[in-house]
Amino acid sequence: MSRKVKHPTTTPGFDPVRRKFLSTMAAAAGVTLAPGVMLYGIARSTSAVARAPASAVSSDVRWGMLIDLNRCDNGCDDCVSACSKENGLQGHGRQSTDAQWIRKVDITNPETGASQSLPVMCQHCAEPPCVDVCPTGASFKRADGIVLVDKHTCIGCRYCMMACPYKARSFIHESLEDQKPHAPRGKGTVESCTLCVHRVDAGGQPACVEACSDTGGGAMLFGDLKDPNSEISQRVAKYATQQIRADLGLDPGVRYRNL
């Protein structure tokens, strides 16, 4: 007696629920990844403004700044406003928590009454204490001497702010809006003057220096301290210059004249 074998109506092992689940997951993955892929594409296409990946930062260069205080006017803060505009620093009207990458400091000799005004920002030390103390290595110094914060690995411990002798760093105390693509910032991390690294890598100079020469007194000079032919090197060789807290032995890249 032959028995009729009953064939299943579907392929063996087929599970419609599973197939539906997988296709939903694939769609979800696509939706999740697509914007990232697109952003990557945009980033690649706009990378022309930044330093080309092939030309690595070289230690043959040391970027620095010379600020001549005889040309720096007491009431002028063009460098400060240029920095804020360039890097999208917007205050919230809270003086003690708002970020300041560069500020004008007024100093007076209490005995003689003589006073001066000078811009102070990250001094881009050759031996930066902020880099030494940072637990994750988020604070780092590029080969060309620019001291930066990696916004992806900063955990916001603020030890660098404790260590900086120049009070150059700010903690981002609240949410940010309208950030500049070339100066990424993030709530809960620490930041400071980048020496306008995006401009420098594209062959330009920092916004503060540009503003100072355009509308200010032309007190700020930017250049390569290692190139003997650069204007900054020649001036540093010719005139006496000072570093703030030179006694600490940190060798700041920002020098002052007539301080």
Binding site: P129, T153, C154, K167, H173, E174, K187, I244
Partner: protein
Amino acid sequence: MKRIIYSEIEGRSPQFYALAAILGVFILAALASAYYMEHNGHYVTGMNNQIVWGTPHIFAIFLIVAASGALNVASIGTVFSKTIYKPLGRFSALLAIAMLVGGLVVLVLDLGRPDRLIVAMTHYNFKSIFAWNIFLYVGFLVIVVAYLWVQMERRMNGYAKTAGMVAFLWRLILTTGTGSIFGFLVAREAYDSAIMAPLFIAMSFSFGLAAYILVLLATCRGSNREIGDRIVYKLGRLLGVFVSLVLYFTVVQHLANLYAAEHIGVEKFILLEGGVYTLLFWVGQVIIGGIIPLFLVFRPAKAGSQNSNRGIILASTLVIIGGFAQVYVIVIGGQAYPLNMFPGMEVSSSFNDGVIASYAPSLPEIGLGLGGVALTGLIVMIGIKLLRFLPESLADSEIDPHHAISVKSN
């Protein structure tokens, strides 16, 4: 000496659950505070670009420093072979672990990006004393757990002395690391000194023992276990030695600074003109946390009298209050004094250069800090409910090898 029998506490009384619930509420409040701070940003706290480390750091540093000190009781028993302290060892190690965890949780939740804890665990800058401390903290937890194990597992008891020695050395290195977080800050006049390391070690001895005495006595009372007057008296006298040590290092710290003309400004600020910091230094740290406890533990009172025990409880409480005052003066006072960028000049700017920074602790900061203390308490409670940390009796007749002799001679 009789054999010591350790046992869990029953932990089923309404009081036990009520206390656990209260601590739980504090922990929830701390989590809510942390969320509030992270969601809005740190501007909702009292911290700013001048005072970058605030009240959460006071709690965290106090707990971390005291954690290593709480372990001392175990070290005295195993490393220095003082028999009477041996039964106290397990509980001392439990409190050390609980305090370190409580402190670290506060520290992590106060980060600008606590969600990046994994970054801190995977990216190390080995030149950073902060990074060394991460290893020291984790290592401390591992070593103390191992130390507990060799104490609790009878087959391993032979290794207790070795484990105790490793733990003791590690805790000295750990507190050296914590003190050096400040000692290595060359830019700040209030810190920048090698004495911060031994000062923090002395502080850890003192705060840790004071916390241990209070938690031990409260636990014994709560679980109806007897504790002998003799051991309480001895712990009290030891606390007195540690309190003197803190005062000694404090005197040397300020004397050395006063001798250098360049540091007169910051010393004048802390010791004379600093307002709340000066008040906290003299009244909080020196009088409440130093002189009164010394009087309480060393005054001529008969060992073991009811009066003497009360005095030791009060002294321990005052040492903790004084300890918080001291950490506050070191951490906040040291930051409030402006950086001396232009020596001899009067300085001003829109970024608060040259002025004494203002700071007032905010509610979320205090909530976060208290949550760390509550977590410490809850870990201890769960610990003694689950495992045998406490002897059934700490009566003098049970633990003091000289008890019989002293009774006879009386």
